[in-house]
Amino acid sequence: MSDQPFWAQEDVPRRPLRVEGGIQIHSTRGTVARTWWSARFIAVLESLGVGGRMARGRNYARSGQIVSCEVDAGAVVALVQGTRPTPYKVRIGIPAWGKQDWARAEQALADDAWYAATLLAGGMPPEIEELFAGLGLALFPASQRDLSMDCTCPDATVPCKHLAAVFYLLAERFDADPFEVLALRGRDRETLLANLRRRRGSTAAPEPVAEETARPLGELLDGFYAAGELDLTRFAPAEPEPGALLEQVPELPIEVRRRKVRDLLRPAYEQLAE
């Protein structure tokens, strides 16, 4: 339970109102932040030491109490459904970088393709922090002083569970797309990539790819029973390496009788190729 004095504690917990189609985080148990970069945000939150609210916030995020959440330059704005009929408005602010700061940051990124390559492959190189630090820019908040946290709920404690919930959702967004971290500092993915392109010396703008949606069956009455052309032998690798993927994935922190899971799984992969 909370280490706050009794008068600061919330009322007897009431169930929050259910949200239809709320945003749920995918993590169903355990910690939420999976990557080092999202962990940096959660670390600030957890340094505030409000244990019980953390857990409740996580449950809020899991049960889909967050109605909406927008990451924008300098702020995350979300609506979280609590016990009251009107959802609370949550805002987490972080200073966006100025135009000139960004110009230098973009030039530094454009000069070293490794950063963009790693980001586009879904990762974030730890060195990026130093890169920006060299320009006098901090990518991550160091402590709560670097963040502003507001919630319209009656709970006076900061962060309240609604704020906590938004943090967890944010962490998962960051995990899935590291560009969102940069978006919070003022450059969304498309703008950043376009600027990098320009600085790389190319002006052509990428065409947006149209999202293809499945045609309803009613439009497909002719050829209803016919399959499209299919020749999978075209794609079969010439020399499949059964263990390759297993060797590529990162080491896991679990073991059985001091033997690493990867090593334990190896015989299975060998048998698969038989």
Binding site: T31, Y225, E229, V256, V261
Partner: protein, 1018 residues
Amino acid sequence: MLVVHALWSPARGVVLWAEDGERPATTSRRSLRSARPHPFAVPASQLAGIHPGKQTSITLLLPSRANGPVESPELVRRTASGRRSSEVSLTPWTVPAVVVEPGELADPAEDVRYGASVVHLRALAAFADDLAAGGRVLPTLRPGPEARWRPVVQGLDAVARRSLVEALPPVGRAEQRRTGDTAGHSPDLLVDGALDTLVDAAVRERLARADAPVALVPPRRGRAPKALPATEAWLAALAGPDPRFEATERELATLADALGPWDAVTTEETGPARATFRLAEIGTLHDPGDPGDDPLDQTGDGTRWVLEFQLQSTEDPSLVLPADDVWAGRADRLITSAQELLLAELGRAALVYPPLTGALRQARPEELDLELDEAHRFLTEDAARLLAAGFGVQLPAGWTGRRPLGLRLSVSSPPAPGVVTRGGLGREELARFRWTLAAGDEELDEEEIAALVAAKAKLVRIRGQWVSVDADALARGLEFLRRQNARRGSGTAADALALAQGAVDTPLPITSVAAEGWIGDLLGGTADRTLEPLDPPPGFRAELRPYQKRGLSWLAFLSSLGLGACLADDMGLGKTIQLLALEARERQQAPPGPTLILCPMSLVGTWQREAARFAPDLRVHAHHGPGRPRGEALREQLADTDIVVTTYGTASRDIEELESLPWHRLVLDEAQAIKNSNAAPSKAARRIVAGHRIALTGTPMENRLAELWSIMDFLNPGMLGTPERFRQRFSVPIERHGSPEAAETLRRITRPYLLRRLKTDPTVIDDLPEKIEIKQEYHLTREQASLYRTIVDDMMEKIEDSVGIQRRGNVLAAMAKLKQVCNHPAQLLHDGSAIGKRSGKVARLEELLAEILAEGDKVLLFSQFTEFASMLVPHLSARFDQEVLHLHGGTPKKQRDAMVERFQSGEGPSIFLLSLKAGGTGLTLTAANHVVHLDRWWNPAVEEQATDRAFRIGQGRTVQVRKFVCPGTVEERIDALIESKKALSDMVISDGEGWLTELSTGELRSVFALGAEAVAEE
């Protein structure tokens, strides 16, 4: 006939349902909002009899008219359903269905057609199995808790997945998700859901195949605790059949967290392009005039290694753009977001191949400089890892793979011509062997070997090609050469054959066997062309065509070597006559003992007849039927016999006796009978001991690898290894991956023992007559025979009691009825009953069609009975899973022309059923090179006319004409009558079948009587 369809149901798994052409096309129920029962769907209980599984029902959205669903194009009805003109719209139907195991898809039933949705789901299951086999799977934790394997679809796999999504037929997603839904499932979700489940099943299936259970959990010392730790339980559940396991919430949370990084390895949507890495040598730009050392020179001739980055379009793999084009913006017109794609691909590749990171630390990375050792490592290790992760790799020309250093064997033997006649040649004859080291196909000389030994680098260039040098392998190779050459290099023909098959372990792989003389001809599969063609012996009463003489000498040649031979000439080229000539030839001097021929029942008579006709000196004994000699009687019989002909069935039953006899040769006719190596005929054939083995088959085995294995293993036991090894080495790479290398290796290994000439082969075609006529024998079933007898008794009575016109009518009626019963009992009874296995003629027709279709040929089937043809159309289209054309008197002119045009076009249907009257004149059907007369019109002129549909101007090939004849029935008797009369005078039988009515009652009785030989004993 049934047409089976399949779909993936997210809630249920693989669901099969089927349409039945025998059920009513429409329903009387009016269309309401709710789904109506599908009027011609197969009941679940019946379908489960074909494909066992859990019976259920499912609601499908199908294109429909007001009173029923539109039939799938595969469905054929005996009688065409009436025209329905109402609008087609999407309507829900409740359909009985069966939920089956995924493996059931790979086990098609006979006599059933499968829709495109089944083919698609099979492809999906094969893809899932490929992912499992390639280890492109990761374990994960699912609610339950369950330990599951999930696919990791990246790179080319993602392209394959995309094409599976796009190829999904609409019927594959026709399951109605909820009442009122009309959109159907999303193809992406369906394919992903199916893959997820199929991959888990495929992994478990593969793990279960292991000889010893795969244990992932390390052994524990002491007693196991009551509840296993979660990780241990999870691992155990990954390897076992049951994915479920038990663990506390808390443990599960920890496990889920720990697995996070693996769950983050995602199945990616395909980009429109992938990165390709090209290893290239480029000049160092060092001024040749500069006397100083070139620091960049890695190769000794002014070049260095670089790895160039490229972007390759996945839609059009021939579009490859170098990185500098991408950075300059020249690629954007061709590939959307080319720069970001290249960056993302490079970022991903750097995870697999960390040295890339260094090259990326600049604004516009284009290439990676490699040290010599790095280049070697790239060639031998990294390239394969990049390929496995879905990237493209281009290696320098001449790079021959991972272990390019190998051994080369040269064998010299005397030249081939004349070897057969010389005699005394054999497997043990000595030939000169010379071993050398080779890099790929290139033989290395002393100097080059010395350079290899002295080389410090792992990559050495020899004659412009890079060779990877493994010091250990080199030392072993040299040691082998020293030992071989000390033995003064000779070996037997048998040694050379074994080495060429890869059946002998050598310290380095044998990259090639080059042989001169007869061994070379044998290994190269050219022996039949270089051997001197043999003539049949003097007493042989047929002239052999040139290619048949070559076949004869080839058979004699392999026989003299004691090597099993497979003569696989196209049907109609005369395999029987070549074998008879061989047997007759061998018996000119000292008879070598009897030869045993195994064949299907329907061919026993053919062998006897052909032997009597062409090689009357051969003493043939047909060993079948209840009266066949046994024990001492059989031995006595054999003393006076050259050839024993028996059926596969009899051989299986009498195997104890047959295997104890000394056979000169064992011949399998229609050797595809042993395609299943575990079936009784196959086992029996393998048990029989004989001095030599020959297999005759007309079906091309190239496409049926299991059959090829079975026949080759029968001929030369052990030649292709165990079935499992064969599957791994050849079946999977060839059938699944279309690997040309594996196919080439297999061809090389089997080539010495296989002689196959095609009808289209220019060296054969000139030798062939334009038309070959064959009497196609078959036997009646017991049901047919008993009906036949009844008709004869009944009709003879009527004929005896009648005169004049009435008698003529009775004779013709008897004739018609007997013809009908020979076709099929159901045609006589007019009862619309099932075709089943009730007709010997239909069974033989199916075998024949299987062969014709396997050769890619087209066939015309003529019958005078529209009813019989109407029965056959749905049956044959189900049996062969393809469209069958049917033209009869009632076919309108317009349709008739359309059918002819489709049949004549290359892609059109292969089977065309025609009524003798309607199709016998006027049409040009030269796309067919086979004509089959299913029943006889006892008038040669009419049959000739029909045959001429295929055999007319425009026909470039030999036409094979078959007439079905059952021995011991009216068919055979009248056939013989016509043959004899034809010789006398064409006049007698000039007009229709009327001449038959002129026969006396006594003559009729003997013409109609059913002989014992009409019924097969089996």
